[in-house]
Structures are given as structure tokens and as C-alpha cells.
């Protein structure tokens, strides 16, 4: 294992700015690591090596001193990159090359980041394991027979395996936090609207967020400080002032109150997860945080609510894939309707079809009120639970995943079982709240476990302060898989 591979974004940026290492050298280390490991891990769907080296040369020549100068970054393949194929893990976009960059790409490059390539994900970000990628699953670097979590699995693997210090992901129901937890890295889903989604291939527009996978809370703060802010191209990108995320990492959490919905941990949670979670709370308590029992009475309904709302929105968003303007078109149709049907049937995978069907059903005449409208009302109650909790606490602590990483293929036959993996993550999306997952332990089989904290709207700073404070008294974030 090369120690250089596990440098943080901050260390790389400082070394590049000080002239101790060139951006090109950093880029080569990353590319070598990808070459050496990605045959067995499948983190990347495409690697833009020449483009990355050109970019690194420019940074060296210009003596770029941006906040991410020379930092290699892996981008989830549902985020548009001009000139680099962007498939969203789907056959229907197999040859699609976006003619424009997502706003997050423009922001990262302006900050000096070097984009190395595009990472594997569940098709259209629909999944919790990356097994729904049309191009095969990514593998967990801690145990390659296991899933890395999803849907941003490739970006989590890239960071966990030391290929890049930052990966970009998207999170609609846990798709950043879950793979972060299962791969032993930090995953931050910002508040809904904190980061522009212009150029993100839409899954469920009232839930989708772009965020980061990193090795440390500090790097998450660094990434967010570059990504956050308004965007005239995304009317949902908020004009709320952007906090000084790095300046807030004081290590001091004395007096902060953390709410714990203990009832949610009573059933369906692996003992190893429960053990690590409660041990993590003790560390936070020792650093001065108050641990307070809370109730989220509607949390048991969050998964049902989520799968109704998310699939309804997806069925509408994915109507655009019709074989006309971009992407795959089926051969041999002589009229428009059969061209649409053949194209979509051949282009979409099983899970995407399942969700389009479910979403179309819950929006259809006779079912709209019983499912979609009902779910929107329950969503209000889920939000109110958090508003109530935040009257007395500063953040809510839960595990990120009820179990460590499971085996590839173990749950493909039963979609409902796979949906239940999201039990701790979906409510943050329904309520639009920021949430972070940080490594908080390893099982006896050496599989990572994550601690999740959910915060008030636009209060990422507090979450990052708690996460950073926790890292100061623990070494879990330093653990690396033996690959």
C-alpha cells in the first residue's frame, strides 16, 4: 500500500501550493493506483487520463493556488461532464457525451481540481448496492465479494481505495451516506438546495442532492465550501449565505445536544452496528456533547413514503429517454410509439423499469390519492418530527446502515429487502435536511460501520464540527482496506 495514495485533499493542495509536488505527479499517482486496482474493484466507468494530465499541467504552469489545486476527483457518472461520456450507469445512455458541464464540475475546476474520470453507480442512481449498474457492480475494497453500497458506490470505492481523496456523489435516499458507511469513508449529503443540481441527471427532483465522499470531515468541509452556493441555472439552488465550514472545525462540541431515536434501533439492526453506534455516542459524550433520547414517531413510515414519492418523480423524469434527442434507439420500429417502447424496454434495466412502473401506478387515476397524495402528507409529518426534535437538539444521531456490507447477489431477488437498507437515510431526504456519515468502527470481519448525523436546514457547519471532533478522538477514519 502506498501511503501517498491516502493523502487528504488538504494535504495534496498544500503540497502543490508549496511546490513540494507537482499536480502532474499527484495525477500520475492516482492514475497508477486506478490502473493497479480498478480491474478488481470496478470503481470507474471511464478514466479521462489525458484530459486529467493536461489539466494538471495547466495547474502547474499557472501556479494555481485555488482551494483544490491539483486535487484528483472522481465524479459519479450521473453528473454531466462536457466531452466525457456520462451514462448514469444505464445502457440507454451508453454513448452519451454531454455538450455541457454540470455547475459542480465548473466550480471544482475553477478551484483547481483535476477530474480523473466517472464512477460506477446504480442505473440512474436507483439502488443501494451498485448491482443495478448496466456495466456490472463495483466491489467493496474491504472485501471484494461484497457490495460497496450505492448508489454512489464507485465514488466511495475510489476514495476508500486511495484512488482519489474526493469523490462526488448524489443522494436521493441515502446514495452518498450508505456507500460511505459501507466503505469506511465520510459521506456528506448537504441540505436540499445547498448545491446546484444543474447537470445532474434527474432521478427524483424534490429529493436529489449532490455531495461529497472524502476520507475526513475537513475534506468534506473543503469540498462543500467549493460546491455550495446559488446558481442562476438551477432555480432550486438556494441563496442562503454559505457558512465558513472549515473555520467552524474547532473540535469543541461542549454543550451541543445530540438526539438519539433509540426506538429505531430496537429491530432489524445488526449487533455490530448497534455496538459501534453506542460506543461512538460515548466518545461524543466524553467530548462534552449531551446525548438526549428523542422520538421520531413517523420514522417507521419513511421508507414507504420515500418509495412512493421517489418512484412517482422518477417515472416523470425518465419520460425524457425516448430515443430521439440522445442516447440509445432500438432498431426496427416503423412507427413512433413502438420506437419509444422498444427503446425504453431495451435501454432500461430491471430496477429502473420496476420503479417507473411503480411510479406510474401511484400517479395513475384511482391510485393518486391513496398513494401519492397520501405519501406527500406523511412526508409533511416526517418533516414535522424533525422540526419538533430540533426544538431541543442540535443534531440527530443514528447509524447510517442497519447492517455492514452484504454479499454481491445476496439480495437481488427481493427488491423490498434491498429498499429496507435505506431505513436510516431516507428521512433526511424527505425532510430536505443535511446529513453526514462518518466511519465509527469495524466488525470482527473487518467491515466498516458508519455513524450518521442529521442537522437543521443549512446547518452543515454543525454536522461537520461534530464529525471532525469525533475524528480527533478516534482512528477509524485512518483505517485503510488491505488491498
Amino acid at each position: 500500500m502506498s501511503a501517498a495514495s491516502f493523502k487528504t485533499a488538504r494535504e495534496i493542495r498544500d503540497a502543490v501550493a508549496a511546490g513540494e509536488v507537482s499536480a502532474v505527479e499527484v495525477c500520475r499517482v492516482s492514475l497508477d493506483r486506478i490502473n493497479a486496482l480498478d480491474g478488481s474493484l470496478s470503481a470507474f466507468l471511464s478514466v479521462a487520463a489525458e484530459r486529467a494530465l493536461d489539466r494538471a499541467r495547466t495547474i502547474d504552469q499557472d501556479k494555481h493556488h485555488g482551494p483544490l489545486a491539483g486535487v484528483p476527483i472522481a465524479i459519479k457518472d450521473n453528473i454531466s461532464t462536457r466531452g466525457i461520456p456520462t451514462t448514469a450507469g444505464s445502457r440507454i445512455l451508453k454513448n452519451y457525451v454531454p455538450p455541457y458541464d454540470a455547475t459542480v464540475i465548473t466550480r471544482l475546476e475553477a478551484a483547481g481540481a483535476v477530474i480523473l474520470g466517472k464512477t460506477n453507480c446504480d442505473e440512474f442512481a436507483m439502488g443501494s448496492s451498485t448491482e443495478n449498474s448496466a456495466f456490472g457492480p463495483s466491489r467493496n475494497p474491504w472485501d471484494t465479494s461484497r457490495i460497496p453500497g450505492g448508489s454512489s458506490g464507485g465514488s466511495a470505492v475510489a476514495v476508500a481505495a486511495g484512488m482519489t481523496p474526493i469523490g462526488l456523489g448524489s443522494d436521493t435516499g441515502g446514495s452518498i451516506r450508505l456507500p460511505a458507511s459501507l466503505c469506511g469513508v465520510v459521506g456528506l449529503k448537504p441540505t436540499y438546495g445547498r448545491v446546484s443540481r444543474y447537470g445532474l441527471i434527474a432521478f427524483a427532483s424534490s429529493l436529489d442532492c449532490i455531495g461529497s465522499l472524502t476520507r475526513t470531515a475537513h475534506d468534506a468541509a473543503l469540498a462543500l465550501s467549493v460546491l455550495a452556493g446559488p446558481d442562476p441555472r438551477d432555480s432550486t439552488a438556494s441563496g442562503q449565505p454559505v457558512s465558513d465550514y472549515m473555520g467552524g472545525l474547532s473540535g469543541d462540541i461542549r454543550g451541543l445536544r445530540l438526539g438519539v431515536p433509540r426506538k429505531m434501533l430496537e429491530h432489524g439492526v445488526d449487533d455490530s452496528v448497534r455496538g459501534c453506534f453506542y460506543a461512538a455516542l460515548e466518545i461524543l459524550r466524553a467530548r462534552g456533547a449531551g446525548i438526549i433520547d428523542i422520538e421520531l414517531p413517523h420514522a417507521p413510515y419513511a421508507i414507504s413514503t420515500y418509495y412512493v414519492v421517489a418512484t412517482a418523480e422518477a417515472s416523470s423524469n425518465l419520460a425524457r429517454f425516448d430515443g430521439v434527442r440522445y442516447g440509445y434507439r432500438a432498431e426496427g420500429s416503423h412507427d413512433l410509439r413502438s420506437m419509444y417502447e422498444k427503446t425504453r424496454s431495451e435501454g432500461f434495466g430491471a430496477e429502473v423499469k420496476r420503479r417507473i412502473m411503480l411510479g406510474t401506478y401511484v400517479l395513475s387515476a384511482g391510485y393518486y390519492e391513496a398513494y401519492y397524495l397520501k405519501a406527500q402528507k406523511v412526508r409533511t409529518l416526517v418533516r414535522r418530527d424533525y422540526e419538533q426534535a430540533f426544538q431541543t437538539v442540535d443534531a440527530v444521531a443514528m447509524p447510517t446502515s442497519p447492517t455492514p456490507a452484504f454479499k454481491i447477489g445476496e439480495r437481488v431477488e427481493d427488491p423490498l429487502q434491498l429498499y429496507l437498507v435505506d431505513v436510516f437515510t431516507v428521512s433526511a431526504n424527505l425532510a430536505g435536511l443535511p446529513a453526514v456519515s462518518v466511519p465509527c468502527g469495524l466488525t470482527t470481519e473487518h467491515l466498516p460501520i458508519g455513524l450518521q448525523m442529521t442537522g437543521k436546514p443549512f446547518d452543515e457547519a454543525t454536522l461537520l464540527r461534530i464529525a471532525d471532533s469525533y475524528e480527533r478522538d478516534t482512528n477509524w477514519w485512518k483505517e485503510c482496506p488491505a488491498i
Binding site: 454513448n95 452519451y96 457525451v97 455538450p99 436540499y192 438546495g193 424534490s206 432555480s235 432550486t236 438556494s238 441563496g239 413517523h298 413510515y301 421508507i303 414507504s304 418509495y307 425516448d322 430515443g323 430521439v324 434527442r325 440522445y326 442516447g327 434507439r329 420500429s333 416503423h334 412507427d335 413512433l336 410509439r337 413502438s338 420506437m339 419509444y340 417502447e341 422498444k342 425504453r344 424496454s345 432500461f348 423499469k353 420496476r354 417507473i356 412502473m357 411503480l358 406510474t360 401506478y361 395513475s364 391510485y367 391513496a370 397520501k374 405519501a375 406527500q376 402528507k377 406523511v378 412526508r379 409533511t380 409529518l381 418533516r383 423490498l416 429498499y419 424527505l430 425532510a431 430536505g432
Partner: protein
């Protein structure tokens, strides 16, 4: 509580969603979607009278801008990913629509 999903429902929904399903897919989806819907039916038990629906979580914000043209994609760029196109006329080409 809505009644159980049938094969006819699956065929009707597939037509609405412009999906052409094989017989095997129809059988699978009748079973799997019925399972998910049965689980989702737990929300029917939640008391929601007087509760407004949440369609999005942002507080309202001004998203208007002045109505002035800004640069956009060229026709060639917009057509570049199309599976069938006519660069001369700048159009996407599709199978015959009217008999």
C-alpha cells in the same frame, strides 16, 4: 386500501409508461410490485386529516431573471447525441408519425 395488483394492471401501467414488457417481466412485476405496494400500504394507517402535502421542501424563493438572451448550445451541439438527425436541416429524425 386499494385492491391487489393484477396482470391487467401491469399491462395498463406498462402502456402508460411506454414500456414493452415480456411475459416473464409481467409475471415478475405482478409479484414484486404487489409486494412493494403491500408494504407501502402501511402509510394508509397514518392519520393525515388536515395535514397539507409536501411537494418540495424549499421555502419560496425568487427564481426570476431578466428576460434577456444568454448563450446556449449551438444546433450542431444539440444534435450531436441524437441517434438519427439531419444536420442540414437541423432536425431530429423519428419514424413516421402519421400513417
Amino acid at each position: 386500501m386499494p385492491e391487489r395488483l393484477t396482470r391487467a394492471d401491469v399491462e395498463r401501467i406498462a402502456a402508460l409508461a411506454r414500456l414493452e414488457l415480456t411475459d416473464a417481466e409481467k409475471d415478475l412485476f405482478v409479484r414484486q410490485l404487489a409486494g412493494v405496494l403491500e408494504y407501502a400500504d402501511e402509510i394508509q394507517a397514518v392519520e393525515t386529516s388536515g395535514v397539507p402535502p409536501t411537494s418540495q421542501v424549499l421555502s419560496s424563493q425568487q427564481a426570476d431573471r431578466d428576460d434577456t438572451p444568454v448563450p446556449s448550445l449551438s444546433t450542431a451541439e444539440a444534435l450531436a447525441n441524437a441517434p438519427d438527425r439531419s444536420p442540414q436541416t437541423g432536425l431530429f429524425r423519428v419514424p413516421r408519425v402519421i400513417g
